[in-house]
Symmetry: C2
Subunit: 149 residues, 2 copies
């Protein structure tokens, strides 16, 4: 049987968040947290609007999901994020004990893999879901930014 609620479905929702960030002049990264095929948190990068390095999409999604659940552990959740999490976000995900992280584009310079950040032993990672779409949006953002300066 076809499951419409697969990783691609939720990553598309994360990409929609990344597009909202793009329109605000933010580095376009979006995140979704889902539980049992239900979205409980949506967020996009707001570091420029909020003047706050901690306002990555994942951080806001973690806070929003915990608020929704009424508990700080995201035990049955999956995070979908368009770009590989950095060490700050991976560190927060470690504390959340989230069982699954799905990301789109890799960040070979500042992603948690290159930085050697430790995830929680219970956390599984899926990478490359809608990677090209996420990556193209980021490239488009940086090209546009360069042309404006």
């Amino acid at each position: 049987m076809i499951n419409p609620f697969d990783d691609t479905y939720f990553m598309k929702k994360a990409l929609q968040e990344a597009e909202i960030a793009f329109d605000k002049g933010e580095v376009p990264v979006g995140a979704i947290i889902a539980v049992e095929n239900r979205i409980i948190a949506r967020a996009h990068n707001l570091t420029e609007c909020l003047n706050d390095v901690t306002a990555h999409a994942e951080m806001q999604a973690i806070t929003a999901a915990a608020n929704f659940l009424g508990g700080k552990y995201l035990h049955q959740c999956t995070l979908y994020v368009t770009l590989e999490p950095c060490q700050m976000c991976a560190g927060a995900l470690y504390w959340s004990q989230i069982p699954k992280i799905v990301y789109g584009a890799s960040d070979v310079e500042r992603g948690f893999r290159a930085m050697g950040t430790t995830l929680h032993p219970k956390t599984k990672v899926v990478s490359g879901v809608l990677e090209e779409e996420a990556s193209n949006l980021l490239k488009q953002f940086f090209i546009q930014k360069r042309n404006l300066n």
Copy 2:
């Protein structure tokens, strides 16, 4: 000439924040951010009260300091924190480009040193300031917690 505004002075202020966390039933960690001998942010761990793994003292202090400064980089700031930052907080400090971090007690299990988190190349670290006081407060907290359960 004696400088009353040394690392010990500011760490005492961070310890006062840790004591506030203790009284709230939070793991007692406190943080201060100072610029030119002026405190611009005070915070303590609120992960239990807020049900949020991202509510470490350092994270809140970073957000508060950036808000005070009107910019996301903490270029002339020093962070004082009673316990060695974890990988999430060290990751946030990396993005903030903060030039100096001073911490009290070491966290040999989950501190950024053991976890191998990368700090910004401009960041210098001083450790062990009022280490015993910070460590004793943490021990007292965990002993009390064990006796209550």
